[in-house]
């Protein structure tokens, strides 16, 4: 499959361009396919290519020294990744992995520089894309620095825990995130960390509070 002008039109970087401008830009864009689990970016490697997801989903994450993974973002069709280091001239800040079969459209850093030089509309679009990225990251920084998310997840679990009889409340990670005002990715990470600490166990679609006393301590309830 060749790079489609129709797809490029749906990418925020290239919005507002004419058919002929898109056709000219298409010459710089190439296609890349990947299978589930394939790593598309390695943190710390030189960032040479800007990617757009045409089909499938890509996980953007960082791995800590002790092997814990923090998902920052899920990139869906029409969205991009690796923008920041491509434009800043640095190395990739995060790693990226194909969550299933994915089709990417890609453009080399040097070619993107030519496109930016030639089409000021693309430059304006890129400013908007990068500004949105900064907003998302500021929200994530807020979660990391000021809010003790794990503690709030613990409190929420205690509040919503059923005693095994009568009505059993069921919550998705999305609902838990909305309830405590954080990103869904943070809830997943907090549940994992509570499980590592032995206060809860995750069994398929059940969260079992294994050590209520310890969980109350994490939640700050004494």
């Amino acid at each position: 499959m060749v790079v489609q002008v129709e797809f490029l039109k749906s990418v925020p970087h290239f919005s507002g361009l004419s058919e002929s401008e898109l056709a000219a830009i298409r010459k710089y864009v190439f296609e890349k396919k990947a299978e589930r689990g394939e790593l598309l970016l390695f943190e710390g490697e030189p960032a040479e290519v800007l990617y757009f997801v045409a089909a499938g989903a890509v996980k953007i994450f960082k791995t800590s020294a002790d092997g814990k993974e923090q998902i920052f973002h899920i990139v869906r069709p029409g969205e991009s990744f690796n923008d920041v280091p491509v434009f800043s001239g640095g190395t990739s800040l995060v790693s990226a992995e194909a969550m299933g079969a994915v089709v990417l459209n890609a453009i080399k850093k040097s070619d993107m520089a030519v496109v930016l030089q030639e089409y000021s509309q693309v430059a304006r679009n890129v400013i908007r894309v990068l500004s949105q990225r900064v907003q998302e990251l500021v929200m994530l920084v807020e979660d990391f620095s000021f809010r003790r998310v794990t503690s709030r997840v613990a409190k929420m679990l205690l509040e919503y825990a059923g005693d095994g009889v009568g009505e059993r409340p069921r919550l998705t990670q999305q609902e838990m995130a909305a309830m405590i005002g954080t990103a869904r990715e943070m809830v997943g990470r907090s549940l994992k960390s509570l499980e590592d600490g032995g206060t809860i166990r995750l069994e398929r679609n059940r969260i079992i509070i294994a050590d209520q006393k310890a969980l109350r301590e994490v939640a700050g309830i004494t």
Binding site: P77, A101, A161, L171, Q173, R204, I208, I209, Q212
Partner: protein, 72 residues
């Protein structure tokens, strides 16, 4: 009976993103709407819920307190 991920047929746009990330093949698109076909295999990884751009698929958790501390 094994629980299934819950699908909101009104919200599903049939984009298939959930099917592409499902590692166990439990999801298929039928008549442009995602359907759970093989529940035995679903490990409740919740990736389908994570990637859905429309909030059409959800994997709710039951929260229970383990009741073995009193009986010990």
């Amino acid at each position: 009976m094994m629980e299934k991920p819950v699908i909101d047929r009104d919200k599903c746009q049939g984009c298939g993103l959930c099917v592409s990330v499902c590692a166990c093949g439990a999801l298929v698109i039928i008549d442009n709407i995602v359907t759970v076909v093989d529940v035995e295999e679903c490990q409740w990884c919740t990736l389908c819920e994570l990637v859905c751009p429309n909030g059409a698929i959800s994997c709710p958790f039951e929260i229970v307190i383990e009741n073995n501390q009193d009986s010990a």
